[in-house]
């Protein structure tokens, strides 16, 4: 507590001094990561790539020591950078649709096409590095890296659902994101072995997965209706049974 009070009191001096140092490190790391992307095709997602990126920035190759976990930090950077770009694209699209909706009448649900397009846009961002992406996926699957990779996937699905205007505040929040995460992951894996023109097979695969979700959603809703109808039916049978046994007559 008193440490905080000290730092706030000496904010302009100590705070800037510390924050300048931290900010400089952060910005240096960012510059190295950005420059390293050009060397991914040569060296993959490794410290060699980071060293090459550092040298482009005028720093010694050993500056890759700024990244204690090595090549995986480059993958995280690329992943989160793509997520941010996707968020900007989706925000623009939502703003455009809002403008055009003021002239047209709102049609039927546009959520499924929106999500489908968002997943396609996000997967297309991998295409420039697709020769090395299977290596990245393998690295992300390693136990030390998996938690952060899952978090990145979670952030991605959250962004997409947020821009569809999702307002759920119960467990559906999780089921929506989990199902989208599965769709994204399976489509990504499919894309790795897709050799068709402009990855058309991948987009067809994606359409089929989106269709699956819609079908499962309808199934769940029908199931819920069915249970409530069965519940009513059971109550009805109970009343019939009690009538037969004379339990409802009240007469002795």
């Amino acid at each position: 507590m008193c440490q905080k009070a000290e730092s706030q009191a000496g904010g302009s001096e100590a705070g800037d001094h510390v924050s300048d140092g931290e900010e400089m490190e952060y910005e240096t790391r960012l510059r190295i990561l950005r420059s390293s992307m050009a060397f991914v095709h040569q060296h993959g997602w490794t410290v060699d790539t980071l060293a090459a990126g550092a040298e482009v920035e005028g720093l010694p190759g050993v500056a890759h020591g700024l990244f204690p976990r090595g090549g995986v930090e480059l993958i995280y950077h690329f992943y989160t950078d793509c997520n941010k770009q996707l968020a900007m694209q989706l925000a623009e699209r939502v703003a455009r649709e809002k403008e055009s909706e003021q002239t047209n009448t709102p049609g039927k649900s546009k959520i499924t096409p929106f999500i489908r397009d968002a997943v396609e846009a996000r997967l297309r961002m991998i295409i420039p590095y697709i020769d090395r992406w299977p290596q990245a996926m393998g690295i992300l699957a390693l136990p030390p890296n998996a938690p952060q990779a899952l978090k990145n996937l979670g952030d991605l699905t959250d962004e997409i659902w947020y821009y569809t205007g999702d307002t759920s505040t119960d467990f559906n929040w999780y089921t929506k994101r989990a199902t989208l995460g599965v769709v994204y992951k399976t489509t990504e894996v499919f894309m790795m072995q897709d050799k068709s023109d402009d990855y058309q097979n991948t987009w067809d695969f994606l359409d089929r997965r989106m269709g699956d979700i819609t079908r499962v959603g309808k199934l769940v809703r029908n199931g819920q209706e069915m249970t409530s109808v069965l519940g009513e039916a059971c109550k009805g049978f109970t009343i019939i049974g009690r009538n037969i046994l004379g339990a409802n007559s009240g007469a002795k």
């Binding site: 905080k4 001096e13 705070g15 510390v18 924050s19 140092g21 119960d170 467990f171």
Partner: protein, 204 residues
Amino acid sequence: MALQVTKRICLRCSIWHILVRNYSQREKAEQTKALLDKIIRIDHAGEFGAKRIYQGQLAVLGNTPSGPVIQQMQDEEQKHLLEFERLMHQHRARPTVLMPLWDIAGFALGAGSALLGKEGAMACTVAVESVIGEHYNDQIRELMEDNPEQHKELLKTLKEFRDDELHHHDTGLEHDAEKAPFYKALTEVIKAGCKGAIWISEKI
């Protein structure tokens, strides 16, 4: 005076870097976001749980003279719940994973305490509202520590809701909560349960 001298000495030595937490803008913003996420998540879960508790109590005591009192308290909790849902959308906070659990557990606690009679239901109310009141106070302190200016709106909301919850607490006491069977044991167990629920929903 001693503080100033110590500060000046520490500035010049690198131990300062270890002592002072990093206050770069970016990291501070991340910390604030995490704090808001946690606060909104737990408050949303708390209001939802409280609403379910009152619904459970109404299921048993709805047709008795204490029905209207419980109904009014439930309506106020519903108002709080809607406000936290709005805040959840505004801050893009996530709900707790255990929402289905609190759905069932809240109703069960409400109905169970009401089966002990009106006094039991009121005792449950007193226990839950006292924990919630303390918890709101802790959150208000955390927000004041973080940045009172930035969180002015939220602080006002939390203070208002805390006052409502303490009003419920007092209502419970007025309606003979202390005459409930095993009042001390009952309230202590419910308080412990609530604190456990708060702890876990803050995490996940």
